[in-house]
Amino acid sequence: MAAKAAAAAAHWSDDVFREMKAREINTVCTIPDGGLTRLLLQIENDPAMRLVTLSTEEEGMGIVLGQWLGGKRAMVAMQSSGVGNCINALGFPAAHRAPCLLLVTMRGQWGEFNPCQISMGQAVRPALEAVGVRCYPVDKADEIGETFAAAADIAFNSSISAAVLVSQRVIGAKGFGQK
């Protein structure tokens, strides 16, 4: 019973949040996704952190660059569909040799309900890799924290772009009360 309660309390978002704090990633830009709900709430409720709500995901590439120019660490969290909005923009921090860390929760991948999510879901990894972003897919909840930590370290220490792709298998497919 106690073990079951502990398992229910453990959540990959807590691991990612802890790794963010450990690395002083204090600004997180986002267009939210259902899979990010818990993490975004944690960020919003932390007085040392700043959640920046965007109007479109590519703005995050500019904000991340500006933060780095001012000596601060920032990142972008989004749903897989948002990756499509970022492709040209991803060249901008890269040209400045600025780190750009993305946390992407996947749709269109594992039991997807919405046909409009399919094509971008399939394109996320090849599209990101085509513009030079290192991808770190992860489909086990208990490996997300360490994967995020590794991606953050390579992004900030080697000043490159890196994306953690959290599988829809972890998030679960939205059902919309399917009939």
């Binding site: 700043r50 703005e59 500019g62 120019l69 040799r97």
Partner: protein
Amino acid sequence: MSKTPKTAAPASNKLQRRPFVADILKHRGNGLVVTGLGSPTWDLSAAGDRPDNLYSWGGMGLAIPTALGLAMAEPDHRVLAMTGDGEMMMGIGSLAVVADQAPKNLAILVLDNEHFSETGKQKGLTGNRVDLCAVAKGFGIRETMLVTEDSQKDELGRFLFQAQGPIFAVAKIAITEDPWRLPEKDSAAIARRFKISLGLEKP
């Protein structure tokens, strides 16, 4: 329903961008300047090279987000984003993000010639119905200023570098043929020099 008026008379696009920008920047002090790609970058370069100029060679739509990220990271510096009307339109939603974050040290200047002057002077979106100052106000930017006369430039310079942000100005500039004044082209070198000037990297 009343007809939406034009934002400025057609003859109002008479400001000469190069001397105009140079005069505005006399108010700069230790302010940091981030430009949008194309002509605003050449204007900044022509006004005098400085290590705290962040010239842009790409990322259309990202001038304001970049300046916003910088303004939030460097609250003790004034940050000016200076861009063109086409670049501003591409990143227009970023004005909502600016208003929402409300950095007191961020100013935005749009050099508006109502055309895409870098690509062959095609007509843009700001020459007819679109009122950028009204858009900025609608997003919640504190204060805006529309500049059509050369005599307003000192007032504009003080506004951009002294008034509490976030603030937004539009200068109706003429379509002119200015010589290219290309700065350093390697964005990594521009960024490194910029960070050294802020004391954030070792020379």
